[in-house]
């Protein structure tokens, strides 16, 4: 196929003029990240995904545009923006690639947020400004090899040793871990309570091997965290975090960004499918003239429009500090599910070309298979909504 097919010709679609609900700052942030993705991500992402390699150098650029912790106060290197702006940034990053959005989600929501929310002022000043610029890369350790959906049963332990804790255990499926300078790690204390500690690269007994052979998020680096009698000074404990609620609150932040992000992937798939349907000629006419193609496209833009309104409303609730964990859970589940369906339909519209790297479809589809599983699986999120509406806990 020609070079033309690889060119990023993305145009956003806004069937219900949702733009009118956004502020000038929101739109400027959206356009800035869209420009950045077209300039920095689109030209290289297929090659990196093909090679199963993470473009780690983009962390600096993400820091420069302010994609890390944009809603944190400027004092700590954040942008002082609202949650809607954060969502819009995630949407535009994932329009490029879920792996790039994951890098930013983890850094902002799972590393900077817990340090900001649960850390001491010294910890904030020590880590946040450098994390905001991308000078430091962070990761978040909650999931374990034997405990994914059930993090409350975690086996990673800390034992009091005077001015430090001795950390033992292992974490799994950790975005950014092999390249991270610090890890926010959740572990059980001797009294059974869960605490958060900041583990720094180079601490004796700490390693972060990479997980190879992923068929999803291939341009994002994923690994393990292994702790073999790691001595973590008590000054690295997040003083305000006690109990599973602390890491779960971080996941809510990240899930919020994922709901917006998956919408970006869906919009990219739809945009590509619409253009292809107008350009691909079969039986003497564009395939967009065929009723079955139009049905697919009409359903896609309808689903996208509903998701745009859902995340916009969720953003407004979050800006007012009123978005519940259950509301965020619903949006994460439904938008990712929608995005996967759209990716599959878009793949069909692209015919054979849809399985190639000339178009972004297959990459988005494979990425979304991780996104539908991480940060709470589709099924677990159904149970969260189920529990919220019935009052019955189906987890136990």
């Amino acid at each position: 196929m020609s070079q033309k097919a690889k060119e990023d010709r993305y145009q956003a679609h806004d069937y219900y003029n949702v733009d009118a609900l956004l502020s000038d700052e929101h739109k400027m942030a959206r356009d800035a990240v869209r420009d950045w993705v077209k300039k920095e991500v689109s030209p290289i992402i297929e090659d990196y995904a093909n090679r199963h390699e993470c473009p780690v150098y983009l962390m600096k650029g993400l820091g420069e545009i302010g994609a890390f912790g944009p809603s944190l106060p400027a004092k700590y290197g954040g942008g002082g923006m609202d949650e809607t702006a954060y969502g819009i940034i995630m949407q535009e990053l994932e329009r490029g690639d879920s792996g790039i959005r994951s890098m930013a989600s983890v850094q902002g929501s799972l590393v900077m947020y817990p340090i900001y929310r649960y850390g001491s002022e010294e910890q904030r000043m020590k880590y946040l400004p450098k994390l905001a610029t991308g000078e430091l890369i962070g990761c978040f350790g909650l999931t374990e090899p034997n405990h994914g959906s059930d993090p409350g049963s975690m086996e990673t332990r800390v034992v009091d040793d005077g001015d430090a804790y001795i950390l033992n255990g292992a974490k799994m499926w950790i975005t950014n871990s092999p390249v991270a300078d610090i890890a926010v790690v959740w572990a059980r204390r001797e009294d059974g309570r869960i605490i958060g500690v900041i583990v720094e690269k180079g601490m004796e007994g700490f390693s972060a091997p990479e997980i190879h052979g992923k068929w999803s998020l291939r341009a994002s680096v994923t690994g393990e965290l292994v702790f073999d009698n790691v001595r973590v000074p008590k000054e690295n404990v997040l003083p305000e975090a006690l109990g599973l609620k602390a890491p779960l609150s971080c996941l809510s932040k990240a899930r919020y960004g994922i709901a917006w992000g998956a919408l970006g992937a869906a919009m990219d798939c739809y945009d590509s499918a619409l253009r292809y349907s107008q350009e691909r000629i079969q039986f003497g006419k564009p395939i967009g003239q065929f009723q079955l193609t139009q049905k697919k496209l009409a359903e896609m833009i309808t689903d996208i429009t509903k998701a745009q309104l859902l995340v916009w409303r969720l953003g407004a609730l979050a800006d007012a500090g009123k978005a519940s964990a259950a509301q965020i859970s619903m949006a994460k589940r439904d938008v990712v599910d929608m995005a996967l369906r759209i990716a599959r339909e878009a793949r069909q519209i692209h015919g054979g070309m849809g399985i190639t790297g000339e178009y972004p479809i297959m990459r988005h589809m494979m990425n979304l298979e991780s996104v539908v599983t991480y940060e709470g699986t589709h099924d677990i999120h159904l149970l969260i909504t189920g529990m919220d509406i019935t009052g019955f806990n189906a987890f136990k």
Binding site: D24, E25, A29, A32, I65, G79
Partner: protein, 246 residues
């Protein structure tokens, strides 16, 4: 240095163009607007680079109604220190050039930057008219600029080569591709843009010497005619009599 950058608002390059008022005016309904890329990517960024190198201030100026404020804020988000909007519809190049010159004439700017043209009307005459009104040297379509003391050395493409020019400050410069590299505003810049001053000043009276009589779109492209490779006579006939290109 005290630098002024004139920025225009233009339709997005993907916008569908239509006209109103009996085809005498551009119809902005449903059109997405952007900052004119020559102003944003080259003129503004080169002015910011100059300020970063030698100190000073960068002011962005736009002639237009309050609906242009979003584009002006983008100029502030990219790094300008303050902004001025001359509150009037930009009805013609003559009008815009006169307004810019009237505003700038007693402000003591060391240089006035603008893009070589806007991507809507493509007149490319405002920069030279501003220079003429202000009686300043003018360098058009600059692609490279070095500054040493009070002198700028500029390069511009000419037919078959490159022209190198030297000019002392103050002067007017119109920016072409390659003068600088696009800067994407950061989230911090976007938030700071809200707090930077945007001063609105009234337009001065001006009688337009030129009137737009009519706008028209280019004729629709005709269908492709396929000609048998063996029928060269027919090809020559059509190129000569119908396309009138040979």
């Amino acid at each position: 240095m005290k630098l002024l950058v004139c920025i225009s608002q233009t339709p997005d390059t993907t916008a569908n163009i239509s006209f109103k008022d009996n085809d005498t005016a551009f119809n902005p309904d449903g059109v997405q607007f952007i900052m004119n890329p020559y102003d944003e990517w080259y003129a503004l960024v080169r002015a910011l680079e100059l300020k970063e190198a030698v100190g000073g201030t960068v002011t962005v100026l736009n002639v237009g109604p309050s609906t242009n404020d979003a584009v002006i804020r983008k100029g502030l988000a990219i790094g300008a220190d303050d902004a001025v909007r001359i509150d009037a519809e930009a009805v013609s190049a003559d009008f815009v050039a006169f307004q810019i010159a009237e505003y700038a004439k007693d402000k003591g700017y060391d240089a006035i930057f603008m893009g070589k043209e806007t991507i809507d009307f493509n007149g490319a005459i405002v920069p030279s008219m501003v220079a003429e009104y202000l009686d300043l040297p003018f360098v058009s379509q600059a692609q490279h600029m070095d500054v040493e003391g009070n002198t700028a050395t500029l390069k511009r493409d000419i037919e078959g080569g490159v022209e190198v020019l030297s000019v002392d400050f103050p002067f007017v410069i119109s920016a072409a591709k390659d003068l600088a590299e696009q800067r994407i505003p950061s989230m911090k810049g976007i938030m700071m843009s809200r707090r930077k001053p945007l001063n609105v000043v009234p337009a001065v009276d001006f009688v337009n010497p030129v009137e737009v009589v009519h706008f028209a779109k280019p004729p629709a492209k005709s269908e492709v005619k396929m000609i048998d490779p063996d029928n060269m006579d027919e090809l020559v006939n059509l190129l000569h009599n119908e396309a009138k290109v040979i």
